[in-house]
Structures are given as C-alpha cells and as structure tokens.
Symmetry: C2
Subunit: 203 residues, 2 copies
DNA sequence: TTTTATATTGAACATCGATTAATTCTGCGA
DNA sequence: TCGCAGAATTAATCGATGTTCAATATAAAA
C-alpha cells in the first residue's frame, strides 16, 4: 500500500484530531482552517479529507475531544475536592471554560445541519459530563426523591452553563458582575435546597 | 452628488441592516454572506463596505437589531400578560429564540476581536432587554432588598439563557427533556422565593 | 519482476471577506 | 447653460476557505 510514513489510518485520525484541537485552541472557531491542521501534521489537505470525510466531522471529533478533556478536568476537581462537591462541580465547569476559551466556545459555535445527527459514539462520550453531574446531584437529594436527579441535574447544568457563557463572552463583565462563579453557585444551592425541603414536605 | 438612486446614507444603512437581518434569519450565521446582502438590495459589495465599514460592524448592527426586536417582543408579552409576569418573561425569552432561531443564535455565534469593544450605542440598545428584567424582578422583591434586583436579575437571565441555549441547540431534546420552559421557570421561581424569604429573615 | 491495491498528493473550482482604482453621477457656482 | 469637484458605485483583484478528484507514489502480492 502506498503510505509514505508508518502511521495507520487510526493513528492518522488521532493525530489530526489532537493537532486540530490544538489549532482550535490557538486560533478559535472562526479562524480555524482544515488546511492548517493538515499542514501541522505534515500531510496534505487531500489526506485530511480522505480520513475525516468532511469539515463538519473534523469539527465534531475535535469538539468531542474537548468534552473528554473537560470531563477529565471535572473528575480531577471532584477527586481533590473537600466536602463541598457541588462547589467543585461549578468551579470545574468555569475553570475548564476559562482555561480553554477557544476550544470550549467551539463546542457551541459549531452547528451541524438540522438533518444530520451526532454519531452515537460521540453522544455517549459527551454525555458523560452530564452523567457525572447527575451522580453528584443524586447524592445530595433525599433518598425518596432521587428519581428526579437526572432532570434536576440537567437543569442545573443549564443554569451554570448560562452563567459560564455570559462570563466567557464578556456579558457579565460588561454589566459589572465580578463573581459569576459565586452567582451561579448561589442559584444551584437555592434549587438544591428547594428540592431537599420539597421532598421533606411531600413526606 | 453622485447617487444613482434616491437613498440617503442613513437610509442605505437601514436597508442593509434590515435586509441583512432577513438574510441572517434565512441562512444563519455560518452561511451568511455580505455579498448576498448587497445583492438583495440591488447594490454592489463595494457600497456595502463603504457604508458599513467592515464585516464585523455589519454583523454587530444586524445583531443589535435582533436585540431590539427581541426586547419589543418581550414588552408585548408583558403587555398582554396576566398576573404571572415572571412566566411571561421566561416564555418571551424562549418564544423569540424559537421563532427566530438563526437570528437569535447569530448573537452568540459572533465574537468580535478581544481588543475591540461594542460601540456604546449598541451596548445601550442591547442592555434594554436586561433592564426590562431588572424592573420586573424588583417588583417581586420585598422593598428592603430591591437593591439586589440588578444582580439577581442578571443571574436569572443567565439561568434562563442556559436553558434556552440547550433547547435551541438540541441538547435538551437529546437528553429527553421535553419542557425546557417549565424547567427554567422552576429554577427562576426557586431563586425568587429564596430572595423573598431571605429578605424576610434578615428583617 | 510484474501486478495490484491503496495511500497520498496538490491543482482546480467556487466562494468568501476585504481593498482599491476607475467610472459614473449629481448638485452647485460661474 | 456649462463645467467641475467630489460623492457614490462598480468591477477587478487578492489571499484564503472547503471540497473534489485525476494523477502519482508506494508497499504487498503474484
């Protein structure tokens, strides 16, 4: 077979994704270039398209990698956490986004055509972040209302996400808000407290 | 002076913004084209650049228009609201985003270079949406804690925004969440309730 | 060695944002 | 009425994008 270097197809794909992720972190979604990614690993643009299929699939793979790194980051934050695991989750969410602005924003900058869905494998990998939150929310809820954990957890992720978004895109800074993390954490605490007394009252 | 049609500079700018907004609503941020906007009003691309300056300023103007339409939409929702004005706000937020997906998303898809700020005029126009929420939040808070209204309102906007974002980009649908509006409203209610009893307790 | 299969290339294409020289038009003063 | 300064507009140009695909190069099989 006509390979010039000794990389298997899978290895080549990994190199493209890893280097593509770095390129995304460097220049951001709007200045991202598939040509540049190919150049960075010493291959031509044609090879990139043969391996990745098209632009969307390259971006999807890069963004899924961001999710994986993000999930690892949050797990580590939980691992070295004290009692206040909820705070660790919120700080982990913000911490990763702030430390990886371009890559993090690319997740939400990229929209695939409405008729195309995420490959299931990517869904599963990305979903682990939410699953992690569901687990922690379940721990905090009274035993008899743990069934609500998934729905509440998704809602709290959305809450934190909104705050994180406004932090990253400068909206909060513009409005003079200087502690977005504490703000988000306050909202999360209120909702968790409500879920706790709500369950108590229903007993 | 050498104008071929009878539109003043200001009129031309308005035409570009209005038609640009329609084009954005039609094709979305990623497929948006300044050339196409110029073509749609029967002018050349050069004229567009002479009037608007550059691409970013065109997008900024279009997005500010989206904010203005959004604010009007919310005011109308409040105008025809019953007692539950908080619900009207949340439903208005989602309602506009859902009815104007492309234009709404373009607001958050567009990032201007970090060294360039939004012109003050645009800041003011866009800020009215938040001001509207601040007013309503203040109404619901006890008199002695109204000073916290701006900060709490911004936080609640972020909360709703996160839910709306997950609704629009399909995350909620993917996770099986079918009533994002109710979910967001529940979070807002909990935080408002907490602020109310919090003030009561401090009395 | 010859054949075959496949990995890889990079020029070609249409389109994009951005710039600018050249052209066209218009209102005003002489 | 005429001429012209200057504003308005265009068309051509540039470098770059995603994408395609015939041509090429290479390693394994025959």
């Amino acid at each position: 077979m006509g390979r010039r270097s000794d990389h298997s197809r899978k290895e080549l794909e990994q190199m493209l994704i890893v280097e593509g992720h770095k390129h995304m972190a460097d220049v951001g979604f709007s200045r991202f270039s598939a040509r540049e990614v190919a150049k960075r690993i010493g291959y031509s643009i044609g090879t990139l398209y043969n391996v990745m299929g098209n632009y969307d699939q390259l971006i999807i793979a890069i963004n899924t990698r961001t999710f994986v790194l993000w999930t690892d980051y949050m797990r580590q934050a939980l691992g070295s956490a004290g009692d206040d695991r909820i705070r660790s989750l919120v700080e982990g969410y913000f911490g990763f986004a702030r430390a990886n602005r371009n890559a993090w924003m690319a997740i939400y900058d990229h929209h695939l055509p409405p008729d195309i869905r995420l490959p299931e494998e990517h869904d599963a990998l990305r979903g682990q972040l939410t699953e992690l939150v569901v687990e922690e929310v379940a721990k905090v809820l009274p035993a008899d209302s743990r069934a609500q954990a998934p729905r509440l957890a998704r809602s709290l992720v959305a809450t934190v996400h909104g705050h994180c978004m406004f932090d990253i895109n400068g909206s909060f800074a513009l409005m003079g808000e200087r502690e977005p993390v504490e703000l988000a954490l306050a909202r999360v605490r209120e909702s968790l407290a409500a879920a706790q007394v709500g369950a108590q009252a229903a007993t």
